[in-house]
Symmetry: C2
Subunit: 199 residues, 2 copies
DNA sequence: TATATCATTAGACTACAGTCTAGTCTATGG
DNA sequence: CCATAGACTAGACTGTAGTCTAATGATATA
């Protein structure tokens, strides 16, 4: 996470230690109730150490969030086997990712990520074209044009961006809700509507 | 904006004065370069006064943002006359709102709003069902079911939420972009795809 | 082994959003 | 005309994210 990626073994260890302690504290007390001073104290490190390994408080969550892309690869592998047409895979994958986000990361984390990413310029992950999630989505769309299950789209690029916007819209909307409505439930009508436009 | 809405004439004057000074400063130097102390200094008021009239720094932008809903009413009145079917009105209105947001508010303001709204619980405007924008959207959908231009939707409620998510997704996505691509341009494929699913 | 380099660590310090308290002004009702 | 309530103002104070500097540790090369 540091600009210089020349970490020593000790450095990596410290980073993971801080991250584990912090995630535990966030889980127990909530992100905004836990200060960096507290994290530093509980992990027996220091401010200097913390900011050596993390560019910001929110980047702890960001790291967890970024890890998830590896997960999405496995999710897609499963889906690839279950569905024969790309259009079915698109819908199933979209919903599976939403389920995964809610289960593995939770609303608190996603709210922090979405709030920080749009304001800080520090988090370029959302706009990184090489992101695994984006690669998978582009793959599905390409496949869909091939097997002709995805039609009526102006361009792969525009359609890809529409899907990304749908993800963001569903997640952002869910982040705003005070009740416990599931993310998947909120996102299902939107992706369904888009899929309907492809046939 | 204060919890107590019993403002005196002097109070309203002070609030508007602070708001004008602050918006000028934000425009000139950027939101994150201007501190509340600076606003207070430049407007010859005080911290106490500031927080009497605004619950937070970001709420200055929030007030501007909330004002826009009045604008949307006028936009819709124009569109109502130009398009005969509800489905056409939906697409035109969606795009007109995006244009209006970019032109009248700009990306900086929207980034602050989107960042603050999802993290703070202070801003309930996004989840306020009585919001003018939402009323207009529900009206269009109801009209669309009436004139049968909007079909194939499971429920008005779900479709309404999908449209709101589309707004949020397009705006959030636009907020992340570092280039100057227009919001309308980014949102057009998404709403187009959704509209395609209605026919 | 000596030395240079660069990662790591500690913690004092800064900047700034937001709170608190004490006091002033203003409108209203007896 | 006084008393009371509560809106308004000033600015000191607090909490906390993030910076800076100086010191220490590890590694690589001569």
């Amino acid at each position: 996470m540091d600009v210089t990626e020349n970490k020593t073994a000790k450095g990596i260890q410290t980073q993971l230690h801080i991250m584990n302690i912090a995630l535990d504290l966030f889980k127990k007390y909530g992100y905004d109730k836990i200060s960096v001073d507290r994290i530093v104290k509980e992990s027996n490190t220091s401010k200097g150490s913390f900011y050596q390994h993390f560019p910001s408080k929110s980047s702890i969550f960001m790291m967890r969030f970024m890890e998830m892309d590896e997960h999405y690869i496995h999710i897609y592998e499963d889906i690839e086997q279950k569905y024969s047409s790309a259009i079915e895979r698109l819908e199933a994958f979209f919903l599976a990712v939403l389920r995964c986000i809610e289960k593995e990361l939770g609303k608190d984390l996603m709210r922090v990520i979405y709030s920080a990413a749009v304001i800080s310029n520090e988090h370029t992950f959302f706009t990184n074209e090489d992101r695994k999630l984006y690669t998978i989505l582009r793959q599905i769309i390409t496949d869909g044009k091939q097997d002709e299950s995805i039609q009526n789209i102006s361009s792969t690029h525009d359609f890809f961006q529409s899907i990304v916007q749908s993800f963001m819209g569903a997640i952002y909307f869910w982040g705003l809700q005070l009740d416990n409505t599931e993310l998947e439930e909120l996102g299902r009508p939107l992706i369904g509507q888009i899929i309907a436009g492809l046939r």
